[in-house]
């Protein structure tokens, strides 16, 4: 992976994926209409992601990175959220304007999500295996037995040891890392084309974080998924992403190949963020 010479200021080729995108966000704008006034959380954001590729959307709190990611499946609470402009193109449909029925089919199977805190995303009263199997029962209408076998296989694939036994356990019996693996299994069991992971390792210890990030990279490669990784951590971006979009105050200030952006950042905000990120290797 040698660095290609930077082609001047040609923005379009630099920020475009290498192959045909599976998911395109075009000029997305999102407002939150609150009592105190309107917050323009996302302001004309565009990005694309291709199969087998990881795009990281990085920004600090309030940058609009999560609001833009949740927009893909229209998961922002409405109200106060209002989608004021743009399109989200997936398999020929605009997910912002398609029917609820179509959106329902896309959610959880063609495009799935993993969130930061597995404890709040898992139902504490249900066995974890059932929660993975439920995705298939709901979205694919497969038989109970088939869903069960597929769920055990999915738990096994994401590295849950002794998947048959773990299938029957409840969330509180699992460590944070195992819970996040369960969430990833539930996200993958429907064989999605796109996986959106919103701060998937922020609540985890570093050694566990490393395992989960490596797992996401391996699964992306094996299944040729498009992965959109939402994070505040440039270290996580460097470890996992092919391309990166840097967000600040609702806008993408810079995007491109990870090597280009990290080694030749053009935007002052990107430079500040890189400078503020602590590193192990200090040039002392």
């Amino acid at each position: 992976m040698t660095p290609t010479p930077n082609p001047g200021h040609a923005q379009t080729p630099k920020s475009a994926p290498r192959a045909e995108p599976v998911l395109s966000v075009e000029d997305l704008s999102v407002d939150f209409r609150l009592d105190g006034g309107v917050v323009h959380a996302v302001r004309g954001v565009s990005w694309q992601v291709a199969a087998g590729e990881t795009l990281a959307v990085v920004g600090e709190s309030g940058s609009g990175k999560t609001a833009s990611a949740l927009s893909v499946l229209r998961l922002n609470p409405e109200p106060p959220c209002v989608y004021t402009g743009g399109r989200i193109l997936f398999e020929g449909d605009d997910l912002l304007s398609c029917t609820d029925k179509r959106l329902g089919r896309v959610r959880g199977s063609a495009v799935s999500m993993v969130f930061q805190d597995p404890m709040t995303s898992l139902d504490p009263l249900q066995r974890v295996g059932t929660q993975v199997a439920e995705v298939l029962r709901h979205h694919r209408g497969v038989s109970r037995a088939e869903a069960r076998d597929a769920a055990v296989a999915a738990l096994d694939e994401v590295g849950v040891p002794d998947a048959e036994r773990r299938y029957r356990q409840y969330p509180h019996e699992l460590s944070g890392g195992l819970r996040q693996r369960v969430m990833i299994a539930a996200a993958l069991v429907g064989r999605p084309r796109v996986l959106i992971a919103d701060e998937p390792t922020t609540a985890l210890d570093v050694t566990v974080q490393r395992q989960i990030l490596d797992l996401l990279v391996a699964l992306r490669t094996r299944h040729g998924m498009a992965v959109v990784l939402i994070t505040h951590d440039l270290g996580v971006v460097a470890q996992t992403a092919d391309r990166v979009a840097v967000m600040n105050q609702g806008e993408i200030v810079e995007s491109g190949d990870v090597l280009d952006v990290f080694e030749r950042p053009e935007d002052p905000y990107t430079r500040r963020l890189l400078a503020a990120t602590p590193r192990l290797e200090r040039t002392a």
Binding site: M1, E60, S61, G176, D205, V206, T207, Q209, R210, L213, D214, V217, A218, T221, H232, D233, L234, G235, V236, V237, A238, Q239, T240, A241, V258, L259, F262, E263, R272, L273, L274, A275, A276, T277, P278, R279, L280, E281, R282, A284
Partner: protein
């Protein structure tokens, strides 16, 4: 542990832990858990000692023991050469003034109903008779002192009448630091002081802590799970796992050549913001 050997500092350490042990549980079920096991460690005046480990390793229990917020099952904590367990209450109270703490979450560590002035002044009013009373003199002295403290952490002295919710996470953490400095402590325990903050805010808070340490000759016990941050701030590092210290040493040395396998594992897991190195590593991992 060999905490005292690598630094060669002479004299009595400001803080010395010897054979500290803390068990929890053991009620009717009889199931006891050792949160801290045989920890011996010295912290010297003016240094930053980082206490590093993952969740559940006992680092928070250890800080509670060294502040004497929790009684140890066995072992001693000495401050300035004196065993805290044997101090009479008045003496312990005096020493408490010299040991302050800044907690991780600036949202939950201050009373939302108090104004900034009252939050920062609380330790002064509690410990300093000259700052008490309704008379004008005490009030004016207090207000001036709080203003100075806010100023020293980079906040406007005019924010005294505002409430915590009006401030960002970074500003709140500065208010917590001002409160910790109110009694001119010698030792400050910083428990994950920047973990809840954005990176750019984290950088400025770390700069502030470094400046305050220089200006006041403070001693820091810096608890963190973030090795990249520790690399930046620590003079010495103590790595903790399952209640025990597995490695203690000079920070530069521990980061350059970690002796314990767990320290190496922790260091290898840090997501370094270097995509080129990451791609090299991944190339190896993928075969």
């Amino acid at each position: 542990m060999s905490g005292g050997t690598s630094d060669g500092t002479s004299g009595v350490p400001l803080l010395e832990l010897k054979g500290l042990h803390k068990e929890f549980g053991g009620g009717r079920r009889g199931h006891r858990v050792a949160a801290v096991c045989d920890v011996s460690l010295a912290v010297h005046e003016g240094e930053t000692l980082a206490l590093v480990g993952e969740s559940g390793c006992g680092k928070t229990t250890l800080t509670r023991l060294l502040l004497r917020l929790t009684e140890p099952t066995a072992g001693t904590v000495s401050y300035d050469g004196r065993d805290l367990a044997t101090l009479p209450p008045g003496e312990l109270r005096r020493m408490r003034r010299e040991m302050q703490v800044v907690l991780q979450d600036p949202y939950s560590s201050m009373n939302p109903r108090l104004r900034v002035a009252d939050i920062v002044a609380e330790p002064l009013v509690t410990h300093d008779p000259a700052m008490r009373g309704r008379r004008g003199g005490a009030r004016a002295r207090l207000r001036e002192r709080v203003g100075d403290l806010l100023d020293s952490v980079g906040l406007d002295a005019g924010i005294q009448d505002r409430y915590p919710h009006e401030f960002s996470g970074g500003q709140r953490q500065r208010i917590s630091i001002a409160r910790a400095l109110a009694l001119a402590p010698r030792l400050v325990v910083l428990d994950e002081p920047t973990s809840a903050l954005d990176v750019s805010v984290q950088a400025s808070v770390l700069d502030l802590l470094a400046r305050l340490q220089r200006e006041h000759g403070l001693t820091y016990v810096f608890v963190s799970h973030n090795l990249a941050v520790v690399r930046q701030v620590a003079d010495r590092v103590a790595v903790m796992r399952a209640g025990r210290l597995v490695e203690v040493g000079d920070a530069a040395e521990v980061f350059r050549s970690p002796r314990h396998a767990y320290t190496r594992e922790l260091l290898a897991a840090v997501p370094d913001p270097d995509p080129r190195a990451a791609r090299r590593r991944r190339g190896v991992v993928a075969g």
